[in-house]
Symmetry: C2
């Protein structure tokens, strides 16, 4: 058995790969050198999941890795027609981010319901001002994206007594199809975007969708920035079509310091961190090593991305 | 049947009492006039639950109301030896605040775990700074107070995957006795005070108790201010014996604008509002009317306070 070459695209080296030393040659590369190294790699680990280098460096022909794993749930940053057309297998970090993101969404929902941001403002002003807050039990959520992340979000919201409807690409038991989305949006208190970024979902939260939401509704994007037409969201907030929003992901990341989004009233801006709880890098490293050992043994890989659709299909 | 006299101690008149008009004479009083009206009232409704007027006005002898209802869970503001020794029945608003307070505690826990306050600070500075946050599933909470509020808090935390131990006055199935408290505190991530204020619980969260908590622990008081030795909490925060705290209740309420508590780093100050969700005054009014109709019909009342202990005993 010849020594396999694992190419790792990373800024900071990943943890937990020590288990592979001795039987695998591990090469690290940055984005500019990726194209040069790709032809001799058996496996590519996209550890720097913010990089779009794979789209640019993926060879149209000739030798290339047989397997690409990305340490992320989304694969939009690496998919390109050449990769989609090749016989290279693509896997993702399905599972690692589900519960953390679900908790993050619950944190935002409860913070809004209990008016915590205003409590902080009033505290700074030494102002004792009693307010009535909202009960979340009995409210309604719509979660767009029916993969494991969306399901974890819906599960956590339901545990808080919130009725949560899941919307996926196709209708299945317990999951609404896209044809139900607008109807569900008109009566939702909380709208959560947790879909993969695909041709179908690109820009799906637009002026029409924000326009049909309730004035009391709040919108959360923990999926990918371009799910949302950012200008439309800003307008919806300024016209009070909806009561508030939180974006953890953006068209441009990191959001530049002079971006007007930082200062939009009613908008919470966070730096793409909803899924990243203490230990997440270790979990991602461990997950990759487990997949690597399956691959090495010639066993089927889990988390295989449907490269045409751009996500791991559900069951 | 002679017309009954219902005396209401209130600043703002309560809703939902309309159902009683025609068969009950309703008198409203403020604190200074309470003593004058008390002897001729059959029933006293303490609607202004912040008032301590009952303790001062309750007659040592002579005619007095046969029933006192308070629109609050705690009865510490009205109990006095004369009332405790009398045959007057005291009832409380058991049930109305359970779920709202549980959600409020969950909101604080999740906001801390997900570092939401710092997200707001960084947003104001237009600073994109990724952080790793905490996963709440798998963490440990101790809830002191095993009545319906404590039970709702524990239930909601458990729904989020947090292991929540309840501590009550006496050991019962599913509830720890006071002898377990210190051991539980040493390993808790979240400590929640939700006990009634009694001789036993007064000042129970003192320097010793904060000293044995983990440096990563966070403390929440949604019970009554004097459960906590405020100076000891301030010292615990400044010495980093614990990582943070939130007080919704205080020794003095409203907290005066010049109180140093407003500015203690790591302390969240809120104005006694954790249980007050939209519609709470209607719920309290409806609950009182339902009890009144039972009382009028000579039926046994629920929510009867054990006046010696200072709370409604559990089963």
């Amino acid at each position: 058995m010849s020594e396999k070459i694992l190419l790792v695209l990373d800024a900071d080296p990943p943890p937990r790969l020590g288990r592979l030393t001795g039987r695998t040659r591990i090469l690290h590369t940055d984005a500019p050198s990726l194209a040069e190294h790709l032809p001799r790699a058996d496996v590519l680990l996209v550890w720097d999941f913010t990089s779009r280098a794979v789209r640019e460096a993926w060879p149209g022909e000739g030798p290339r890795p047989r397997w690409v794993h990305t340490a992320s749930a989304g694969v939009d940053h690496l998919m390109c027609p050449e990769l989609a057309a090749s016989d290279t297998v693509v896997t993702n970090a399905r599972g690692v981010f589900d519960q953390p993101i679900a908790e993050y969404v619950a944190a935002l929902v409860l913070a809004w319901a209990k008016d915590l941001p205003r409590t902080a403002t009033l505290q700074r002003a030494h102002e004792w001002r009693h307010r009535e807050t909202q009960r979340v039990a009995g409210t309604r959520a719509v979660v767009v994206g029916s993969g494991p992340i969306g399901q974890a979000i819906a599960g956590t919201l339901k545990a808080l007594g919130i009725s949560a409807a899941l919307v996926g690409r196709t209708e299945r038991p317990g999951i609404h199809g896209p044809e139900d989305l607008d109807r569900l949006l008109t009566r939702a208190d909380w709208v959560v975007a947790a879909a993969p970024l695909t041709r179908t979902t690109y820009g799906m939260f637009d002026a029409h969708r924000f326009g049909i939401m309730q004035p009391s509704a709040r919108f959360i994007n923990v999926g990918r920035g371009p799910l949302v037409v950012e200008d439309a969201l800003v307008e919806a907030l300024s016209r009070q079509w909806i009561a508030g929003a939180a974006l953890d992901v953006f068209e441009r990341e990191p959001l530049p310091p002079d971006d007007p989004l930082w200062d939009v009233p009613g908008l919470v801006v966070s730096p793409h961190m909803s899924g990243d709880t203490v230990g997440w890098r270790d979990e991602l490293g461990t997950q990759f090593v487990e997949l690597y050992e399956l691959w090495e043994a010639g066993k089927p890989l889990p988390n295989v991305v449907d490269k045409k659709r751009g996500y791991v299909p559900g069951h």
